[in-house]
Every structure is written in C-alpha cells, then in structure tokens.
C-alpha cells in the first residue's frame, strides 16, 4: 500500500472513531447532565465531583478497563470485539463522556435555571424545556462537544490498548505517530502529525462557524 493510501486510511479511521465517540458521549452526557444541572438535590455535589474525577482519568487506565472487559476471558468476551474499531469507539466514548457531562453542568448552570423557570411559567413540559435549553445554549454546548472531540482525536493510550494498532484495521493518527517515531520514520510521523493538527483546526473551525450561524 502506498504511503498516501495508508495515510488516508489512518486519517479516515481517526475521524470516524473520534467523531462517533464524541457524538455518542455528547448525546448521553448532555441529556443526563442538563436535568442534573437544573435541579438541586442532596447527591448533586458528589455526582459533580465524581464527574470531575473521571474527567482526568488517564486514558491508559480506561484502556485497561475496557481491554479486560472485552477480552475473550472477560465478561463481554463473547462479542469478540477486542482489537476492532468498535472497541476503540467504546473506550473513547467512555473517556469523553465525563468531560461532556462535567462541562455541560457548568455551562448550563444559572442560565439553564432561568430558562427553565420561564418555560415552566409558560406551561412547557419537561421535554419541551430540555429542547429549549439545548437550543438556547447551543453555542456553549457546541464548544463542550468540541472539547470532547479534542480529547478523543488526540488520545493515544486507550486506543492503542484496545485497538492493538493493527495496520489497516485499528491504526489511527496518534498510534501511527507513536509507532513510526519509535521506528525512526520521522518524516511519516511528522506528516501525520501535521494532518492531525489540521483536522483539529478544521473541526473547531466548523463548530465555531455553526455557532455563528445560529446567532441570527
């Protein structure tokens, strides 16, 4: 396979895995975080603290946990998904989820409560309220998603462990760079590194543009 063929495969896989994990983690994270941000209850402080702890969990640790779960000898071994992109998506989603959750709670915060009160004042049900809060805080939520994506695309430890860095199968930009650097193929590593940066810029650019469109 030519270098450029390999490069496009690696870049595409990185994007696919990171974008999918970010979407999954963002949906789950926001839908859970918003109601929690709006209410006041006894366990709230502890849940937020838990989320903050998980936000900075070392990716390799998450990789280890997911590896043990997906290994044939592990509880989910029957699925046979270790060393596949699916496993990588699972690991990354788990890594991004607490980030989205924690940042959403702070982003929604007081503004969310104000919106909720106004919604209730006009007779909105909880579903309508949730939708409206997401709509009104679109800009903040998009930057939360961007932060989550940043974590996913730049992560190396977890995807290395549960993916196995198999060429043509589970090799992504970050694991590629790690491998090629170790082999002394610096040109290849730098090329991918530059592409990685460009991808990060582009995604952020797009997200920023989307939020600008919404500000009519």
């Amino acid at each position: 396979m030519s270098f450029y063929g390999e490069v496009s495969g690696v870049v595409f896989l990185s994007l696919f895995i990171s974008i999918t994990s970010t979407i999954i983690a963002s949906m789950a994270g926001m839908v859970l975080a918003i109601p929690i941000a709006l209410k006041d209850f006894k366990l709230k402080k502890y849940i937020i603290r838990l989320a903050e702890t998980f936000m900075s969990i070392p990716p390799v640790l998450m990789g280890l946990v997911v590896y043990l779960m997906l290994s044939r000898k592990g509880p989910l071994g029957e699925l046979g998904i270790l060393f596949t992109p699916t496993a990588m998506i699972i690991a990354q989603s788990l890594l991004v989820f607490p980030i989205v959750f924690g940042l959403t709670v702070s982003a929604i915060g007081t503004r969310g409560r104000k919106i909720k009160k106004n919604c209730v004042a006009l007779g909105a049900g909880s579903r309508d309220t949730l939708i409206l809060i997401i709509k009104e805080c679109r800009v903040q939520l998009l930057s939360v998603a961007a932060a989550g994506f940043g974590r996913a695309i730049s992560e190396v430890g977890a995807v290395m462990m549960v993916g196995g860095n198999i060429r043509g199968e589970t090799r992504v930009m970050t694991t590629y760079i790690a491998l090629e650097t170790g082999q002394g193929n610096f040109n290849k590593a730098i090329t991918i590194g530059v592409i990685l940066l460009l991808v990060a810029f582009m995604v952020n650019f797009i997200l920023h543009g989307l939020s600008k469109i919404d500000e009519k």
Binding site: I115, N118, A121, L122, G123, D128, E136, K216
Partner: protein, 232 residues
C-alpha cells in the same frame, strides 16, 4: 379558579422570608401584591404560581391541593423575563406551541394580541435586538396570549413608557374578565388604583393589610402603611 393559602411559610437557608396564616384569592379580580423591596411579594407570587414551593403549608387550587391538574390554567410573567434567542413572533406564540394549539388558532390569537401594541415592524426581528421597553411588551404579550384562568404578573410595566403602560393595563383588565383572575406585583400606587380590585400589602414577609383597593390605599389602617402612604 380560586386559590387558598393556608398556614404557609417559605425559608431560604434556614431563614423564614415569608409567612402567611391565611390568604384567599377570589376568582374574577385583579389583585395587586404590594410592599417595599424585600417584603416577599415576588416570593409569594412564585410560590402560589407553582414556580417555587412553600417550605411548609398548603395551597388549595379550587379546593383541592393538586397543582398538577390546574397547571395548564396558570401562566406567569417573571420580573426580568428571559426572551428566547429567536424572532418576536416565535417568542409570543411559544406558550401556545407548548400547549399544542393548532396553527389557525395560533394565527388568530397572534393577530389579536399584536394589535394592542404597535409592534408590526418588530415581528420578525430577533429579540436580542429590542430595547428594554420593546422586550417588556413582548413578554407581556406572550403571557397574555395564553388566556389562562389565572395569570401572575411580576412588575410587568416596569420598563414601559407611560403610553405602553396604559395599553398594558388595558390588556391586564381583559385578563380578569369572567372567572379569570390576575395577580399583579407592582410598585406603582397609581397603577394599583387604576387596575386592581384588591390590594394585599406585605412587609417583612407578612401581610400587614389587605382589602379593596380604594379602602386600603386611601384609608390605610396599619401604622406602617399610613407612614408610607402619607409621604405620597
């Protein structure tokens, strides 16, 4: 709808900010809640309208304590309302959309209420572009358009000029037709005299005097009230 508050109080951080032994809101009237800043008017409004809950006590809606069943018959305009980041029209009709009104019904009501204020050229503008007074008009309209049995208004005309205020008061009076009621928090004595049938005066979280507007505001009995109104 008649609302009865029985032996209720509200506490914030352990401190009691409102205490009501007994309070009846009769249906079909405009009732003004008045008092100095911090007297508990907004707290009372929010607790009775369901936005907050009393820490202790009971509120009966139509002689039953089920707020859920009467929820759809109540609407509230908050003191500093939050207008959504969309057009004026979208904001005004949003409550109707929540209640799943049909498109024709929505257009019908929209036409009617928009005619009160001269805002035709504002209709498609984003609410973020409006002035304070214009935003206040939109906020009032989006509550008025719901035509609920019970409407709570917290200082609705605070940012309006005199012309708009008088128009707003016209709308407020229509909200109390038939069995419908309005509970209105206001600082404006003249407004209360123009619009309210009854006045409830609060101080430091307790009712110090209540009754028909003319009587309470022209011939107050309570010492404090007499003090305040004499400086008029």
């Amino acid at each position: 709808m008649n609302i009865r508050v029985i032996n209720s109080s509200k506490e914030y951080n352990g401190k009691e900010v409102l205490h009501i032994d007994e309070l009846n809101f009769k249906e079909g009237f405009v009732i003004a809640l008045m008092g100095l800043n911090g007297s508990g008017k907004t707290t009372l409004l929010q607790c009775v309208s369901g936005l907050e809950a009393f820490t202790k006590g009971t509120v009966l809606y139509d002689n039953s304590s089920s707020f859920e069943t009467v929820k759809k018959d109540i609407s509230v305009m908050l003191q500093r309302p939050y207008l959504f980041n969309s057009s004026v029209i979208e904001n005004i009709i949003i409550g109707l959309k929540f209640r799943k009104f049909s498109e024709e019904k929505i257009q019908e009501r929209l036409k009617h209420y928009v005619s009160y204020f001269d805002i035709n050229d504002l209709l498609n503008k984003n609410t973020r572009e409006l002035s304070g007074g214009e935003q206040a008009k939109v906020s009032l309209l989006r509550t008025a358009i719901l035509e609920t049995q019970m409407t709570f208004l917290d200082e609705p005309t605070a940012s309006m000029d005199i012309e708009s205020t008088l128009t707003a008061e016209k709308i407020i009076k229509t909200m109390a037709e038939g069995k419908r009621s309005v509970i209105l928090v206001t600082h404006d004595l003249l407004q209360a005299k123009r619009v309210a049938d009854y006045v409830i005066f609060l101080d430091k979280g307790r009712i110090i005097e209540q009754g028909e507007t003319q009587k309470v505001l022209n011939f107050p009995e309570h010492k404090l009230l007499r003090q305040i109104l004499r400086s008029d």
